[in-house]
């Protein structure tokens, strides 16, 4: 399938290439929830001393994916609702090292070795980076992939950028790919790279060209073309329950290398901290549980702000109850909350507002980063059938039509018009002049359909 639709939102506060180190905090607040995981089974007791890489909790609903202690410290279980707190930290203590594989044979397919590798990836915290390319859900570590899809193109403004993660770590990235190769008998590995021509991009291409098993896929730099679903469909990879396509990001491949080549846990994170409300947007080297306040504190230009976990298109709001960086975070985007009301905004030429439509004077300017806040920028209206959502949708479905069916509670037609193909990129909601939360409606509709299907199955079984 051809890549279609898509649009780049030029949000101000793009993180620089630099990766900043943060001083170790006094305490870590490890959230027991992230987007996909709920670490409900706690493996430690209050007051227990743990070392770096020790398992603190796991998610029994998702193949026991663990939450690891990023540093040595003392566990506090009841200090903060929804978190495990780690105090008396000793970042200098280093992590325990397991048996690992530094041989050059690392890429050879061998079911026996792969058994050991799978266990290592799970126990040392790399497995959380693996997802089913088509559904985004966690994978069974004992499964066999239909193919492996690695995306280094992260275009949601602003999450940690692939090129930043790769800088200076190309060897590790290549080794990670070699390890991944050992899971495959004959299935391909695809590595999606941005099609831009920079020195660094050619360096990466050059490096990977030496690996015959890697299929490089050039992707235009347009959101959401780097998304695993967009890529999987583009490459014609079919979804499958038995042999799902494994999807990884740059960070995931680096985690694989760390675990398998050095035998140490993948506890380090490089996340982006940016957005229009941040004065010095950059990347930060940190760990899970790092207090959110430390990450953004001192850099917020204006208050009140909304902190988004991930990018503005799909990320969730970091509520006041969440104190630390969650296990799956790729970045924090900070936006000023909308409180002021623009005067006669609808009739201004719009020199400073960037729009998907061509109705703003800024149309004649080259793309520029815009300092937008969380305003809806208009009032909710019935759909006026402008057709913009159809143009922008990368999934090739008709959001306005699906919206009409959902509005009419016509579930059957909602299914027929393929709401299931929506991969929740958020562009339709972003550009809709009637300010309809299409993406959210589709997420809810999919849930409802899923629930009905399950109910139906149950009936059939009885």
């Amino acid at each position: 399938m051809k890549l279609r639709g898509g649009y780049n939102v030029h949000l101000a506060g793009r993180p620089t290439n630099e990766v900043r180190d943060l001083p170790a905090p006094e305490r870590l607040y490890l959230p027991l929830r992230s987007r996909r995981f709920t670490f409900s089974e706690i493996d430690v007791t209050d007051g227990q001393k743990v070392a770096c890489g020790d398992e603190i909790a796991k998610d029994p609903g998702n193949f026991n994916v663990p939450l690891l202690a990023p540093y040595a410290g003392t566990v506090r279980l009841d200090a903060l609702e929804g978190h495990v707190v780690l105090e008396d930290l000793d970042p200098a203590a280093g992590c325990s090292v397991r048996e690992h594989d530094e041989s050059a044979e690392r890429s050879r397919y061998d079911p026996a070795v792969s058994e050991w590798k799978r266990r290592m990836l799970l126990e040392l915290g790399a497995w959380q980076f693996f997802a089913d390319a088509h559904t985004g859900t966690p994978l069974d570590p004992s499964g066999t992939p239909g193919a492996i899809l690695v995306t280094t193109v992260h275009l949601d403004p602003h999450v940690a950028r692939g090129d930043v993660l790769l800088r200076g770590r190309l060897d590790e990235f290549a080794r990670g790919l070699e390890h991944l190769q050992s899971f495959l008998e004959y299935q391909p590995i695809y590595v999606a790279m941005s099609d831009i021509r920079t020195d660094f991009a050619s360096e990466v291409r050059e490096k990977l060209r030496g690996h015959a098993f890697v299929n490089l896929v050039a992707v235009p730099r347009r959101y959401p073309y780097g998304h695993p679903v967009a890529l999987a469909r583009h490459l014609g990879l079919t979804p499958s329950l038995e042999n799902p396509v494994w999807a990884l990001t740059t960070a995931g491949v680096l985690a694989v290398d760390r675990v398998l080549t050095t035998g140490t846990p993948a506890v380090e994170r490089i996340v982006a901290v940016g957005g229009p409300a941040i004065d010095a947007p950059t990347h930060v080297r940190t760990v899970v549980g790092q207090p959110i306040h430390d990450l953004i504190g001192g850099h917020v230009t204006e208050k009140p702000v909304r902190v988004v976990n991930g990018g503005i298109m799909t990320g969730g709001t970091v509520g006041p109850e969440q104190k630390g960086l969650c296990a799956e975070s790729t970045g924090l985007t900070v936006l000023v909350e909308s409180t002021t009301r623009p005067f006669l905004g609808w009739i201004r030429p719009g020199w400073g507002s960037r729009s998907y439509s061509k109705t703003f004077a800024s149309e004649v300017r080259p793309a520029f980063p815009e300092k937008i806040n969380t305003a809806l920028r208009g009032e909710l209206r019935p759909c006026i059938s402008c057709g913009q959502c159809v143009d922008v949708c990368p999934a090739g479905i008709m959001p306005n039509v699906i919206h009409k069916y959902i509005y009419a509670h016509d579930i059957e037609s909602t299914i027929d018009t393929r709401v299931d193909l929506c991969f929740e990129c958020g562009l339709c909601s972003y550009i809709c002049p009637s300010k309809i939360d299409l993406r959210q409606q589709f997420i809810d509709a999919k849930k409802e359909i899923q629930a009905e299907l399950e109910a139906l199955l149950e009936e059939v079984e009885e």
Binding site: R341, W346, I347, S357, C386, L421
Partner: protein
């Protein structure tokens, strides 16, 4: 700006729950939102949004109508200004009434309807007829369907058809001789209605008005429809910024031209003349392209334009009517949902093949 904000703030308690004027809250809200966009924040991701909203969308149409509006004042006099005001007042009153009763917000759709309506009427029509027609159009054409976004027919055209049926004499006898010279009639307050024939009526009798007059607009006709130049100026802008669908405009004009060519035995000059005369251009750029009443699907828009173009050519050439655009577009409006259903069904069939 401060002043307006203060005034609004002072008036607000009157309209709030328990205030004396609470019943008129939608009116207040509309006025309030007219000056200051609401500060409403996004509730779910995406956390920021595009600056385009329905108000601006409609404003863009109004900007595109400015040349035709100015042309109407130039050719037919300052009397057009009270006509616009009356049309807005009547359409606005109905919209506000319904918003109040339904407890919904006042919708921006009438901003366009209120301006388009007088532009498709004979310029010397009595003001009360303008008011009645606009109110009827907005009421029957829009509100009864549930308001802007849910209406089946173009409200302005519904109003025009109503006036044509209810007051056929006035509708065919309220033309104005166009002004000429530097200021045209733009200095004249009152104008004389004349009952002479429009270019299209004359053409039925075999008498063709000069093409240059049609192009610049110094002919008898509906207030905003005479100047091809002004319509093209605004229309190209509207299509260029993507608010009007080029598919509709191109397929309407294209099919009209092709069929006319056949009907006129390949006489290019006559076809060109017909494209400029009457409401074809205005209809193709401003009426048929109304997103709400045209199909949603791209393929649907092509067929929709063709239906209108063909119908216009047929009505003009093969019936007793001199003009066919109004009926053709209303016919297209009827077809729009059918076309959508067909093409949505086709794309559903195509999508069914796709695994995920």
């Amino acid at each position: 700006m401060r002043l307006v904000a203060n005034l609004l703030d002072r008036a607000r308690p009157l309209f709030d729950e328990g205030g004396r004027l609470n019943f008129f809250k939608p009116v207040f809200d509309a006025g309030d939102a007219f000056f200051f966009s609401p500060a409403t924040a996004t509730a779910v991701a995406p956390h920021a949004r595009d600056p385009l909203d329905v108000k601006r969308y409609m404003t863009t149409v109004i900007i595109a109508l400015v040349p035709a509006t100015l042309a109407s004042i130039y050719f037919f006099g300052l009397r057009m200004i009270p006509v616009f005001i009356v049309s807005y007042a009547a359409g606005g009153a109905v919209e506000v009434l319904f918003a109040t009763v339904r407890k919904e917000e006042v919708n921006e759709g009438f901003l366009v309807t209120g301006l388009i309506f007088p532009l498709v009427l004979p310029p010397a029509l009595p003001l009360w007829m303008v008011a009645v027609g606009c109110a009827f159009g907005v009421l029957i054409g829009k509100e009864l369907f549930g308001g802007t976004g849910r209406n089946l027919f173009n409200a302005a055209l519904v109003g025009r058809v109503f006036l044509g049926l209810a007051y056929p004499k006035a509708m065919s006898g309220a033309w104005v001789e166009p002004g000429t010279g530097l200021l045209g009639r733009a200095t004249e307050l009152s104008v004389d209605a004349v009952a002479s024939a429009t270019p299209l009526a004359l053409a039925k009798a075999g008498e063709f008005t000069a093409t240059t007059d049609l192009f610049f607009g110094s002919v008898l006709g509906s207030a905003g429809e005479t100047s091809a130049l002004a319509i093209i100026l605004g229309g190209v802008f509207l299509v260029g910024v993507g608010v009007a669908s080029w598919r509709t405009t191109v397929s309407f004009l294209g099919s009209f031209a092709v069929l006319s060519l056949v009907l006129h035995g390949g006489d290019v000059g006559t076809v060109g003349w017909h494209m400029l005369a009457g409401g074809v251009l205005f209809g193709a750029f401003f009426m048929a392209t109304d997103p709400v009443t045209s199909p949603m699907t791209s393929a649907g828009k092509w067929i929709y334009g063709i239906v209108i173009g063909v119908a216009t050519a047929l009505i003009r050439n093969l019936t007793g009517y001199v003009e066919g655009v109004t009926f053709a577009i209303l016919l297209g409006n009827i077809f729009a949902p059918v076309l959508d259903e067909t093409f949505i069904a086709a794309s559903v069939r195509r999508l069914r093949e796709q695994k995920a």
